[in-house]
């Protein structure tokens, strides 16, 4: 079980993601300029401010050489998790539907909202139960999830809205309280909350660890 966590210039949460992943498996950093992922079972595109978030969050990072390899990995069914800036990168790259717009409040917001599991279609939530409530922090300026209404309907119909903010706790104005979505095949998931910052009760919550455990479990037979 080997996680590869991408490091772009300007990534900030990559080491935290590596630490979180290393609680359930091995975890290495993947340099943005690499074209070859090596032997990797799960890719994490982490949070932070790749390329300073200049122009638009994720707009420049999605052209990094490593992204071609990640797209290839995803096409082959490999699990990819985009967290916060990583979610933005995956949307910009067209690997996930929709876009992330500036928060309604226009400010950076760092908060610990409740998040409800809506779907177990992704390997990152396969081991969780629909309806479970997780406490996972968010911290971002551009986290308002947006997609055209018909696409939102389709996402819901296809069970691809993976996480929603609990009622009244939407921190950014995301449409339909969406906090995380996955692609059609379910193997690529993006979310604004930071599960890597919720892996230890000592630092506030261990609920985020469940996502890492879930994907490890989902892959276990393969890895064995």
């Amino acid at each position: 079980m080997r996680f590869g966590v991408v490091r772009f210039p300007g990534s900030c949460d990559e080491v935290d993601a590596q630490l979180a992943a290393s609680r359930v498996g091995e975890a290495v950093l993947l340099w943005h300029a690499e074209r070859d992922l090596g032997r990797i079972d799960v890719v994490v595109v982490p949070g932070g401010f790749s390329y300073g978030d200049y122009l638009r969050p994720g707009a420049i990072a999605r052209f990094a050489p490593v992204m071609d390899a990640i797209a290839e990995f995803a096409r082959a069914g490999g699990p990819v998790l985009g967290i916060c800036n990583g979610f933005q990168v995956l949307c910009e790259a067209g690997m996930l539907p929709g876009a992330l717009l500036p928060n309604r409040g226009l400010r950076f917001v760092c908060r610990q909202p409740g998040v409800r599991v809506e779907s177990t279609a992704s390997p990152f939530t396969a081991a969780l139960a629909v309806g479970e409530r997780l406490s996972i922090p968010v911290k971002h300026t551009t986290g308002c999830y947006w997609a055209p209404e018909h696409q939102l309907d389709r996402l819901e119909a296809e069970n691809r809205v993976v996480l929603r903010y609990c009622p009244g706790q939407n921190p950014n104005g995301s449409m339909r309280d969406i906090a995380g979505v996955c692609n059609e095949a379910g193997n690529v998931m993006g979310l604004m909350p930071h599960p890597e910052h919720a892996v230890d009760q000592l630092t506030g919550s261990a609920d985020g660890l469940r996502l890492f455990e879930s994907v490890a479990q989902a892959l276990a037979p393969v890895a064995a």
């Binding site: 210039p9 300007g10 080491v15 935290d16 400010r107 760092c110 930071h194 910052h197 892996v199 630092t203």
Partner: protein, 747 residues
Amino acid sequence: MSAVAPVAEPERQALPGLAGAQALGLTEDEYALIGQKLGREPNLVELAMFSLLWSEHCAYKHSRRLLATLPSAGERLVMGPGENAGAVDVGGGLAVAFKVESHNHPSAVEPFQGAATGVGGILRDVFAVGARPIAVLDSLRFGDPSSERSRYLLDRAVAGIGHYGNSIGVPTVGGEVYFEEPYEQNCLVNAMCIGLAPRERLIRSAAAGPGNVVVLLGASTGRDGIGGASVLASAELGEGDAAKRPSVQIGDPFAEKKLLECCLELLERGLLVALQDLGAAGLTSSAAEMASKGGVGVEIDVARVPLREPGMEPFEIMISESQERMLCVVAPRRLDEVLGLCARWETQATAIGTITDSGRFRVLSDGAVVGDVPIGALVDDCPLYDLSPRPPGAQVYPAPAARLTDADPGESLLALLSCPNLASRRPLFEQYDCLVGSRTVCRPEQADAAVLRLPAREDAPRPAIATSIDCNGRRVACDPRSGTREAVLECAANLACVGAEPLGLTNCLNFGNPEKALVAWQLTEAVGGLGEACRALGIPVVGGNVSLYNEAGEGPIYPTPVVGMVGELPDAARAGGLAFARAGDGIALVGPFAPALAASELARLRGEALPGGLPAAEVAAVVAAQAAVRAAVRAGVVTSAHDVAEGGLAVALAECCLAGGVGAQVSLAGRPGGGPDEALFGEGPGGFVLSGPDDALRALAAGATPVAIIGRVGGERLRIEHEGEEVVDLAVGRLAEAHRTLEALFS
């Protein structure tokens, strides 16, 4: 004067003379002294260099003698004042480096960029010593938020701090903000940074090895902040501020993130002889200070410096304050490796000069000498000035505007909770990432100090450090010596409440014009009080910063010696929170607390004049009470601990209720003759509110520290009796509503 004039293009070398020197802020005597040191008149490049290094900001000409009186030694000290940041040992082979610095005047001109580049600058000071920044704290002062300008400054400064800290991935874990009229025209924006490093990897900035290469890292050089150090940082703000505006520096946290990772990797691989940040006075001060510390000379060719703007003059390049740059010294055989690593981090790196054994700073332009000065003269020979302190006959600060009249204790409590100095800081700190780095155990509003986890070690699975930054300028204005002592004690009290023991202190002395007798007195008294308190706590001052000339219009700001402290605790899992959490717990008032209304927040709301003095605290008894609280928290026998500060005991109780979402019933006895207001809202050092099982609270009284069980946690209301009469009865929800008022400033 002398015949050894430097060789240079003559048209660039017209001598600026005394008039030029004065325009750059030097005095006639200083100009004469420069001529003496050089043996001739300085040219423009040389004069620009002197004017900056001999400015208040770089030379500390009015404060150095005072600073020398501060205790700067200690068992745990690793690096003291004189380096970019001081450092203390935190065990396990690790050291923590920290420093606080001001960016007041740039923030008054352009608050977003001023605050952002303030954070960028203090981060560089910390990674310049080889430590990875792991936390930022901010200390802010603005005028009353009823003024549009204050709201604008607040809004933009907070956004700027968040922008830089969040983007670079260093958590902002704590801070403070006060709103008082004397800061209306001259806001204060101080930022503190804490860094972590293996002890043996800390690096000093002394250059060494003639023949070694001087490499400039990071951003290209533009005309940012030309004259910034002398104009913005050392002169009173006033009319014509608009004219100073073109020198605004723009922060680029993305560039600094790459620079930071690059520098740390260069150090980890042992590729650098010395490292130094470029701050005020840019290349001039960093190169001169590195050479001075190493007792060597340096040669820099300005033609090799990558420029952002065409046509920059050599003097502009030498003093530009463009951000996100560092200077390092590299052995020639390591140069390629250094340049290669920088390229990988997309960080520009250029060899711009060499270390020499001449003891001189030579500036070249395409090989031609355009400036040549002895390093000693630049760095060490600035004249120091004695202050002429004189205590004022009467309080000089006007009474604050009255905002509250005829209030009963319940109304006073609500007014206090909702006043800008005491209302919840959530609307500020939610704009800061307090989590990145995975170390944050106690977040803002959870505990009196931020707690950051350190790597596990054999003797301690969850070691941690705690940090806090404090200063109540209004109390310092009443009594600079006692007020400063109180600021230090308050910081240490915050640490005690999470179970941490202080290891060291940093400070930023924000004062007015030291050439005025009043300010000189404030400064002298404050530094005296700072030293006394540090000695009482047995901790060193590891470094700091001085920001003078903070005045505009009506006179000086409140004297504001901001104190930042770092302490250690053995077990992060036992870090104390401030929240009442268990119904049925007893509530104890612990410590030699002697509440007084004079100079309190309530007195301010009532528009009372500032008293000319504060009651002298029994420092030793306060320190002993802190030790008792710390021991109880570390033992894990109490549920919560919170110190009594602004707003007095009633506000402290309300804060414990708010944090836990639970009520309390409390019964107080007063000083004979003192009314309920004094017992409820009086202030002074040395008081703590603890909750927990009664026997644990009673056990605290085993030492000499006074302990009184005053109530019980539970219910949904805060009820306070005074001398048997109920004086407060408020729902916790009502308290919460009052506490939320700052939200309105950010909508």
